[in-house]
Amino acid sequence: MRISVQTARFDPAAELAQFGGPHAGAIVTFTGIVRDDTGTMQALELEHYPGMTEAAMTRIAEEASARWSLSDVLVIHRVGRLAVGEPIMMVATAARHRQAAFAAAEFMMDYLKSRAPFWKKQIGPEGAHWIAAKSTDEEALNRW
């Protein structure tokens, strides 16, 4: 298991080279990319709660690991100032079969969205504004 909160850019391919464990039959990965919905976004700024962030990420990864018997799990989440097109976060899950690997990855994404203390701020030509949480993010947790 590897959990990382970092400002540095990461390389998803390099991360996967070391990932999986000896009994993996399926690996699912998700990489989130900074996207620009408005066409004018200059950067995305991510704030977090040091200490609580790592604890929340670890708890989410441990729960996924136990529930879907994962042989390996990886969560990387960046903080600080990010440019459009850069990777913002990555989740990888390794299990014996694909159903477990897919479900565990979706579970972790849903929980990371609204239970890990990160906040996104969009920087544009007219200034900056905090991105609001969506009610669908909270509802997504109900399926687990």
Partner: protein, 82 residues
């Protein structure tokens, strides 16, 4: 002394990331009432607590929770990770 920490727009509205306070508040809601009475910037930040979340010693909690034994209280908007 209790540490109170603020994140995202709560931090910006109040104008500082953390402060040490002396309080006799029994619950989070009592502390919010105390802070709101201090200055307009606190009053504005806590005007709608349904738009806020609270963590006690880095564990998500709620506004009716007791503060006995708590060292660090954090206020922030709903999280937007991922």
């Amino acid at each position: 002394m209790t540490e109170v920490v603020y994140f995202a727009w709560v931090r910006e509205r109040i104008g500082l990331p953390r402060e040490s306070i002396e309080t006799t508040a029994l619950t989070v809601a009592d502390l919010v009432a105390e802070l709101r009475a201090r200055e307009p910037r606190y009053d504005a930040a806590f005007a709608d607590v349904s738009a806020l979340r609270v963590a006690l010693d880095q564990q998500l909690s709620d506004f009716s929770a007791p503060l006995a034994g708590v060292h660090e209280i954090a206020f922030f908007p709903p999280m937007t990770g991922g």
